[in-house]
Amino acid sequence: MARYKAQLQSKGPLFTSPDCNAAREYFRSKPKGMVNKVMSVSDAVAQFVSDGDYLASGGFGGDRIATAVMHEIVRQNKRGLGLAGHTTTHDFQILCAGNQTGRGQLLKRVDSAYIVGLEARGLSPHARRVMQSGEVEVCEWSNYTLALRFQAAAMGVPFLPARSLAGSDTFRHSAAVQITCPFTGETLIAVPALWPDVAAIHVHEADHYGNCRIRGTSVADWHVARAAKKLIISCERLIDNDEIRRDPTVTVIPFYCVDAVCEVRFGSYPGNMPYEYFSDEEHLRQWLVAEAGVDSYREFLDRFLFGIQDFAEYLEVCGGAQRLEELRNEELMV
């Protein structure tokens, strides 16, 4: 009969410091003026993403993701990044295109809750090659505990307790710590705060200063936006500051969290954007098929990512206005 040793200690690597005073010092020094932060995606990535940074990606893998920013990070050949993989699906697929394709190593360390899969669509062959190669250091989490790490960071405290992870190998390969509740004596799992160096979040609307509106589920983005030391926002539409002030109840991310605002219509493509357009399942399938072989994947990446100028050209290559109209109809179920 199978017997498993009770798991009391974890042994996964902790990639980022949970020091809340160091985070306070950083946020104290951050510029807080209400200034125009609108810029191009390429300028935002050049300015705010550095080699070695720890990155967080907003949305939910293939839903409301900052595709344009992810493409640009790969295209600018950033190296040695860390990544929070809280249900990263197509975004992970994009970022690991910088590994094992002969262009240097983009991902170096990954906090993993969900990686290499695209949910009902299947597993990414290339992401598996990368994660089975041993070149990316990995620490295990679950979706909630990784979200809770952002929540601790957003709260400005070094950890938060949870009741999941306990007893599993997911815990053993995490960097969480088992603690005893000082009030009840309950066994709890403490997860360390995670302040990413930079995060990219795609939203529906933002003003020039970075006040943002999101429709549909917020996933973990309320906390990711507040935890991130630098935050790049891409938005479907720029709106006037008067419009933000007309109804402040729907502002989800305030300007003082934001460093760059990039207007990218269809910026989550081929992902889903609630109330705007559905995911392009044909293109995502094409991507998975191309990944099966190393050579076919290189050709695919040259055609869709490295060989093109910007996201507008990507949308054109993928079928342009006609395809986007179809996805809009699919989303609105017309």
């Binding site: 498993y4 949910e119 597993l123 041993g134 909630y144 009741r163």
Partner: protein, 257 residues
Amino acid sequence: MPEFNSMEMMICAAARLIDDGAMVVVGTGAPCAASMLAQKTSAPNLTLMFEAGGVGPLLQRMPISVGDSRTFHQGLMATSMGDVMETCQRGLVDYTFLGGAQIDMFGNLNSTRIGADHQQPTVRFPGSGGANDLGSLCWRILVITPHDRRRFTERLDFITTPGFLDGPGAREKAGLPPGTGPYKVITNLAVMEFHEQSKRMQVESLHPNVMLDEVQANTGFELLVKEPLGRTPTPDDEQLRVLREEVDPQRYIIGRG
């Protein structure tokens, strides 16, 4: 008797296990199909929740991602992942539906890796996603999975999501909420439950035309058998009509049966 394939059998059997008025967090694929079917037939007051924040949708089309906009289509709330998980942690959520690459006799699940070296596994799978949280925090875990020796294995390479760990009392000892754990395993061959004292998997009912030795032959560990052993009810005409016409008209899921 109506004709149906093994996937339709599995989905209809799973749908019957969910009681009306319950709250359930579901994933995509067969679990979602079973929940949609339950909502449209036997459990109209079922509250569906999705881990990315979708609450109470009236599902029209099958979600492809547990975060896509279909998961809150005509829903009651589009909230956050933390809110959904914390609703489970507070004890409000009755069921979750999970899958996995491997399952053992205590209902522990592996969806992380095959191979011994964690940094360089033989096969890397996605990992927990929300499964560890949902399997830790919801009251009852339902598992839907095809039945073969590769999946039903003596020892897991990795416990992604805790079942009963190594037996009675182990979940509570590890710090997991008391009274939680695996409830049923629904496969293409049978419905399994967990023995009350030993917490080991036991066959509760065989699907039509399935023999017990066939179930054991496709399982890599010794199964217990419930006395008396039941027969899983066959899908009825209404279930099959709704499943084929409303839940999965494109046959994304049932086409695999």
